[in-house]
Amino acid sequence: MGEVLGDAFKQLLANIQGYAVMSAQALANVASAPHYLQDLLDQMDDIGVGSLPIVLMSGLFIGAVMVLQTGSQFTRFGQTALTGDVVAIALVRELGPTLTGILVAGRSASGIASVLGSMVVTEQVDAMRAMGTDPSRKLVTPRVIAGILMLPLLTALNDFIGLLGGCLASVFSLRLNAVEFWTRAINALDFADIMQGMMKPLVYGFILTSVGCYKGLTVSGGTQGVGRATTQAVVVASVMIIGADLFLTKLALYLGDKIF
């Protein structure tokens, strides 16, 4: 039993080390040639544009649901006008970034892991290395940078569409005035909220792409292994995003107090 736990712990440490080395290398590659710009654009298209429908649809519904939930409570105190404030702060600070991160993790971390995993089991990654290409530069860096660049943009759109959904629910369900809703929502936000909301997706984009790449490139066990890696990529990336959220929220609140 002790030996099994010891082996599992060693394996965990080896994975953490491997992940850290791969991630650091992926970021360090930005500073030196060669760069694969076309691959970066392809990944930005895949992660950014490809994720747009699910992010926008989810944002619309989440914003509407939040209004219905908070509105039902505010109605008891006759304060339904505050709905815009609450939805704006919750969406921009927390729900927008985190939900976008988890949604894109579900789509892109799994996609990255399965593509890279398939390339590993069919020896395409070895073929790449045999032709003098560094897989870290060609496969990992473009995906990680695309994730870092795209997540804040997706989050901003998610926030906006979420507020739009909230506005629609306010108007049709709570009979609020649309102008009042938007005025209160915008006034409720200050720069620290925006900063918090835009800082988190930078980290989430890095997490979900790097985890996808690591799980994909360390596949073993043929096609079954690819399936396992795909599942693990989504699970690990989602848990890491939620875990990182705690620390990022604390950091953002601290910085918000100190700076703004």
Binding site: M119, T122, E123, Q124, D126, A127, R129, A130, M131, D134
Partner: protein, 285 residues
């Protein structure tokens, strides 16, 4: 049975010629134990070394170590005068551009067209676009697949994928090509086509080759036939050519068994061996 030392040997002209590839006391293994122990051999310029052995005896590992895709646990590997086993990954990336590697299943990039697959190595070397086009077409013409440039690998048959893989390996005109079971899983006619291409590559371009296979007939085909550039046909070596070829860089067999080099020598030596294990191999043809 002989084991050549990985040193310089006499060239056909009688001058000293450096080996293209040398393995000296190489050992590699994984969690399950050693796969190869104390393996030493050399491959001379224009020579074809046929690596034989049962599944899991380390043939592919040998090729991957030669290309620097895997590192030995012990020993020294040199290729084209450079110590591969001591290079950093960045040095290896540059070094690998000097060799061609044909993987077992082709390992074509499935998101790229056939043209782009063959052009890949040239683009990595920053070759001019006009030259890329002519060299890719030349390589595809060599494997008689010039009409497939726009197709994706998934649209090709298994044999065609291997041929594209050979085209991709030769597009950069490497002095050495490593073949990992290039005929595995192919029907006899398609396998013969692949062997013909390997013969052409050897006899037209003069490349040095290491070929891992469990098909003995592939090895004998490389030893007994040559590609005649004039008639553009594969012809059997005549007695006179056979005698003359003793001074030429030959096709040599090397058999792995239990992690060691069990046999190393000429195909004729292999065929005439009374060793029971080699006899079993011969009987499997």
């Amino acid at each position: 049975m002989t084991t050549s030392s990985p040193q310089e040997t006499d060239s056909p002209q009688g001058t000293e010629t450096s080996a293209v590839v040398t393995f000296a006391n190489v050992r590699i293994g994984f969690d399950e134990g050693d796969i190869l122990r104390d393996v030493s051999f050399a491959v001379m310029p224009r020579e074809t070394l046929v690596l034989l052995g049962e599944t899991g005896t380390g043939k592919t590992l040998t090729l991957k170590m030669a290309a620097g895709l895997l590192r030995p646990m012990r020993g020294k590997i040199e290729m084209l005068g450079q110590e591969v086993s001591a290079m950093s990954e960045n040095e290896l990336l540059a070094h690998r551009r000097q060799l061609g590697f044909v993987f077992q299943e082709g390992a074509l990039f499935d998101s790229l067209s056939v043209f782009e697959n063959v052009a890949y190595g040239l683009r990595e070397e920053r070759v001019a676009e006009e030259e890329i086009e002519s060299r890719v077409l030349e390589a595809l013409r060599f494997v008689e697949l010039e009409h497939t440039g726009e197709m994706l690998p998934s649209e090709l048959s298994g044999g065609m994928r291997r041929r594209v893989s050979i085209a991709r390996a030769l597009a950069t005109r490497p002095p050495i090509v490593l073949y990992d079971s290039p005929t595995a899983g192919l029907d006899p006619v398609t396998a013969q086509t692949i062997i013909t291409l390997i013969l052409r590559l050897r006899d037209v371009y003069g490349v040095t080759a290491m070929l891992a296979t469990h098909r003995l007939q592939d090895g004998f085909a490389l030893a007994k036939f040559r590609f005649d550039a004039e008639s553009k046909r594969v012809v059997r070596l005549t007695e006179a050519e056979n005698a003359a070829s003793e001074n030429e860089p030959p096709t040599r067999f090397m058999v792995y068994r239990d992690g060691r080099v069990y046999f190393e020598g000429a195909p004729e030596e292999f065929a005439e061996s009374k060793d029971a294990y080699l006899q079993r191999f011969l009987a499997s043809i």
